[in-house]
Each structure stands twice: as C-alpha cells, then as structure tokens.
Symmetry: C2
C-alpha cells in the first residue's frame, strides 16, 4: 500500500487514533490502547510508514500505517507535551513536563539515545516546551521555568548543546518558520516574544513584538494560542493575538506588527492554505463552533462557517485543495473544498482533535 | 511497502528508469521499455505510488513503484516535452511539440479526457511549452509559435480556457513560483520574460526583467537554462542568466534584478536547498563537470566540487540533508551531505539525467 495520501486523526477521549486516506476520504482503520491523547501530536517517519504519537501521559507510540497496528510503545516520562523528528529521520525527540527535560530516541527501535535533563542555570529542573526540529540535525526547545532556549546539534551523533539564557519569562510554546531558520517562543510571564535566528546563533536571542499579549490578564496556559499554527504568506506571518479577537499581521523582514484583522473570537490556530492566498482560523471557547477564512492580500474575512461544536484543529491536503476540520463535540471530521468552501463530506470520529497527514514527513519543523 | 522515501532516476540512453530509496540510498529496481527518455521528466500520483514518465517520443508511461513494473503506457503524440498533474491528482496533462497542443488524461486509466490543439489567434497550430499545474485545478502553458499563454481551469470537470495574447516572442519554457501564484515564461525571440499573476488573471501578462538575455546571440533551445529550476529563498529568486557566467538575483516583490553572482560557467539548473540558505548550480558544456554552491545571504560561492563528466541534474532530499547529482558520462549518481559537502556514496546508473523524489507528489507545480 502506498503511504503518500494517508493521515492520522487523534480521538482524544478514547485513546484511539484513526488512519485515514485523503484520496478516497475514508477511514481505513482504528487503533486503540494509545493512552491519554488529550493534547496529543504526531510526527512521521521519512518513508511515511510510521506515525509517532506523543501522548499527554508520557507515552510514545509508534503506529504502523501499513500493518495498521502499534509497532512499539514506551512510557518515557510522566507527562509529556509534544515531540519532533530529526531532519534525517533517525531520531525522535520528546519534550516533557514531569520530570522536565528532553529525551531522544532511535526512531527505529525507540531505544533511548540521549537523555537531556533540563537543568537550568538557576540550578532547577524545568518543564520543556516548544520542541521542534531544524535543519542540520538540530532540535530546539525552551525551558519554561528557567527562561532558556537550547539548541541540540546531533550532526556528529553526539549531542552538542548551545544554551541561551534570559530569553524572557516563561516561554510556553514556540514555532519555527517554514524554512527552518527562525525559532520564536511565546512568553507567558511577560509581553513580547523571543526570536532566535538559527543561521546566526552567535547573534543570540532578541525580543520582538513588544506589545504581543500586552495588557492582557495572564491566562491559563491551555488557553494560549497554538504558536505552531503560525501561517506564513509571502513576507508576512499571520499570528493569533493573545486574548483578543484579532489576527495580527507581522512583517517577517522587520519582525514588526504591520496590521491586525478583527475576527470572530480569540484565535487558536491560524493556518495558511499551502498556496498562501487564504488563512483559516478557529477560535477558543465559547466561539469554537466557527471557522473564518481571511484573504492574505486584502486582509478581509471572506468566508465564515459553523462546522459544529468545538472545532479543534484543521489540516490541509498537501496541495491545498481540501481542508479537514475536527468537530470534537459532534464526533465528526468534516472536509471542505478550499475554493468553493463547500462541505464535501463528514467522517464519524470519537471526540476528534489533531489531524495530521503524512506529507508532514517531508516538511522541516513538522 | 511505504512510498514516502522513494525516487526515480531517468537513464536516458537506454530508455530505462531506476527506482531508488532515499533512506537506504540504494537502487530497488530497474524498469525498461520506456522509449526515448532524452529530456524526460516525471510527476507523481498523490499517493506516491505511481510515477508518470513523459518521454520525448510522446510516450506517457505510468510506472508502479510498489510492483516495480509498468502499469500502463500510451503513445500520446509524436514528440512531447513534459507534463504536469492536477492539484487533486485526477488529471495528468502532457505538452506536445508535434503535433502541438496539450492532452489531458485520467490519471488512473490514462484515458484521454481533454484534447486541446494549440490553435493560436494567428490560425496556426503551435508547439506547447512550459506546462505546469496551479492551485484551483488549473494547468498553465505557453504557445511557442503563437506567443500566447493559456490557463485551463478544470474545477468544473469541463475545461475553461483563458487565453493571453502577445505575451512576447517565442516563449520557450516557464516556471511557476513555489506558492503557485506567478507563472513566468522565458522568451527565445526577444529579451525579458512574461509574467502572469494567476491570482489576478484580469491584470493580464506583463513584461519583467527587460535585460534578461539582452545582447546574447540567440542560442539553440536545448542550451537555454531550465526555468523550472528557479530557486526561491525569502523574497529573492536566483535565476540562471542566459549565455553568461552569472546567476541573477531577482526581488520577487518588484520583479527587478537586484544583483548578479559570477559563477564558473553558463548555469543550467539553479536549485535552492529546501531551507533556502544555499543554492546549488550546475553548468552547460564544456563546464558541466562542476557544481557550485552559493550562500543566499552573502551571495558568495562558498563551495565547488567536480562530481565528474556531465553533471545533468540534482535533487534534494525532502528536508534537504542530502543532494543527489546525476553524472551522465561517468554512469553514476552521487550523493552529498549538504552541510559538510562530503560525498556519501555513488550509485551506478546508465547515462543518468533527471532525478525525481516522491515528495514532489505533495508540492504545487512539481
């Protein structure tokens, strides 16, 4: 069976995942026994055969899309928050809350290769967040409690760690630009964001977007927008504002905010259609029944729809002709034509959350 | 067998192709009886199972990477020059010299769905060139003899053709920008290039880069650089100069030339590493034993190597950690680490030319 048009949908309430086909738009199989999948995410092996599922309970599960079964599973910590796969596909890294730190595994065997406790300069262990892969066999992540960013270089097989201190208070999530150059962490403890240019590590971390989050009450972490969802179209990034009904427009040459677009609620995911002409936005509770579509040239909302209660995530087909949206409280995943915005069909799913297609295997930072 | 880490190498002299694996860096199979493969190219089905091989003799061959055999083959014209697959994967289009025109096939059965003779406004049939796919179920191509660009919209299932006249003398090849927005045709009969913004068809075709090719003797078409190889890094495109030992730097916001980089010979392919930090360049005879690497920030040549006689094509791994280069006259394909530039290994191949990895299935315009 070929694997280029497959995907996995997380069913968070039941600890199950669905394997789906994006050509036939059907469910191929359901796999259970994956543990706590609230806030789970996935990366793919470079052959698009295996999905590595990062569960909230510290479980790292390797799902075989061909055999439609679990091929391996380890409980690697008590509480984890996401992972990444190295540029060459040989290593899978997991970021942990309890105990903090990052563990790096052989992607074939899930044997532990590198254990990196996140012991900050302050002598305390830290939660780790915002873990991504970067070109040159690197992983990058942030230390929530110690305000640090670490770059781990595995090019030689032995980890070489470069640490950046005082990056800003409580980095809570991060993203990497689509070309793998810029690592940007959101700060929970203060306004603004921390930017690291991975092409020039010697320039260090600088602060950008000083008004980001400004004047907002500190919100619980689980309500902060997902930074990995930043959309880039041309030179501009479309960024979910914190606690406001706005999508911000940021010039990626200057890292200044150049506009803001009023939207229906507090944005959670702001995702660019692969051609960059539109961005699709979902929202926090209680506005989470709605999707809006923004034209990236006119900066206007050009379409709005109500897929149903609790629209949690979206995923575009690789070339962007369709988008899939999970509607958790209505137990369905709905598929829309991204040109006409018409609904094509819905598939039943148990409390679906994240949707991940196999083309992510080929993309830096996903 | 998964299909995410496969590729196909054209062996032009023998009418054969190799199926390769980019994880193990090995040849899996050799398929013969594909006809005249000089100047052949390939697109992939959206599941990454089938390679559609466009031969010079008008042959369209569908190769099954899983079964490692030809699954279907039609001779669709007397002389063809390349093809494309639609955004949703349902249609494969082929561009023809003799007779001119474009034929569109059902990608599953290779049944002819649409026959578009390229009858220009001048009443003459034309060679067609520069055929690409674009978002919104579109194909775009140029009429060499009639100086036209046609956009074919298949969203409704019925072709809707929009024609642009007087685009410039003798368009000979074209490219589409990575986001699928800009279609740019090179002109054989005059200086400059023709640009069509596919987001705003009503604005028509405009002329850009008025000095492109200026003052050069008209060269045979087969020596013109490959436009599909344009590299984009940030806002800048890196473009092979015509007949000069230069790579041109073009600002994609203004479409003005903003720099030129002296290189070893007449560039043929100028290709960006997926992260955009480097571009790799090969050259026309007699300088075709060499590759050069340009840093896209400093615009300096930072590395040079001699893989051997007649380096015809390069292909990067999806996340860019390696590059494969075909060395036709030494019957080998060599693999290099793109960070250290070190040679990893070489695979034997009979007069290899184009190299195409399956991740192209997921990319607009490839």
């Amino acid at each position: 069976m070929p694997t280029g048009d497959l995907g996995v949908i997380i069913e968070r309430a039941t600890g199950t995942v669905q394997i789906v086909n994006t050509t036939t738009e059907t469910t191929l199989a359901k796999i259970d026994q994956l543990g706590d999948l609230s806030h789970a995410s996935i990366v793919y092996s470079r052959d698009e055969r295996y999905a590595y599922v990062f569960g909230r309970d510290g479980g790292l599960t390797k799902v075989d899309l061909l055999k439609q079964e679990i091929s391996n599973r380890v409980i690697q910590s008590g509480n984890s928050i996401g992972g990444a796969i190295s540029q060459d596909g040989r290593y899978v890294a997991v970021s942990n809350y309890k105990p903090g730190g990052v563990k790096i595994f052989n992607s074939e065997t899930l044997e532990l290769v590198v254990d990196l406790p996140a012991l900050g300069r302050d002598g305390q262990t830290s939660k780790t967040v915002g873990l991504v892969d970067a070109p040159g066999q690197k992983f990058v992540f942030s230390l929530f409690d110690s305000a640090e960013i670490w770059v781990v270089d595995l090019a030689s097989g032995q980890p070489k760690v470069t640490k950046f201190y005082d990056v800003g208070s409580k980095p809570y999530d991060a993203l990497i630009s689509p070309n793998g150059r810029y690592y940007i962490a959101g700060l929970y403890g203060e306004d603004g964001m921390a930017l690291l240019d991975l092409w020039y590590l010697d320039k260090g971390v600088k602060r950008i977007l000083p008004d980001y989050g400004k004047g907002e009450q500190r919100l619980p972490v689980y309500k902060m927008p997902h930074l990995e969802g930043w959309a880039v179209a041309g030179n501009r990034a479309f960024v979910p504002a914190v606690g406001r009904h706005e999508v911000l427009v940021v010039d990626m040459n200057t890292w200044k905010q150049v506009g803001s677009i009023p939207v229906y609620g507090q944005p959670i995911f702001v995702m660019a259609r692969p051609d960059g002409r539109h961005v699709w936005v979902n929202f926090a509770f209680p506005k989470n029944n709605t999707l809006q579509v923004i034209d990236t040239e006119t900066l206007q909302v050009i379409h709005e729809k109500q897929p149903g209660k609790a629209v949690l995530h979206m995923e575009f087909n690789p070339r962007g002709e369709k988008v899939w949206a999970s509607v958790r409280d209505e137990n369905k995943v709905c598929i829309y034509d991204t040109s006409t915005f018409e609904q094509q069909k819905c598939l039943p799913a148990d409390s679906p959350s994240g949707i991940f297609f196999t083309n992510r295997a080929h993309v830096i930072g996903l």
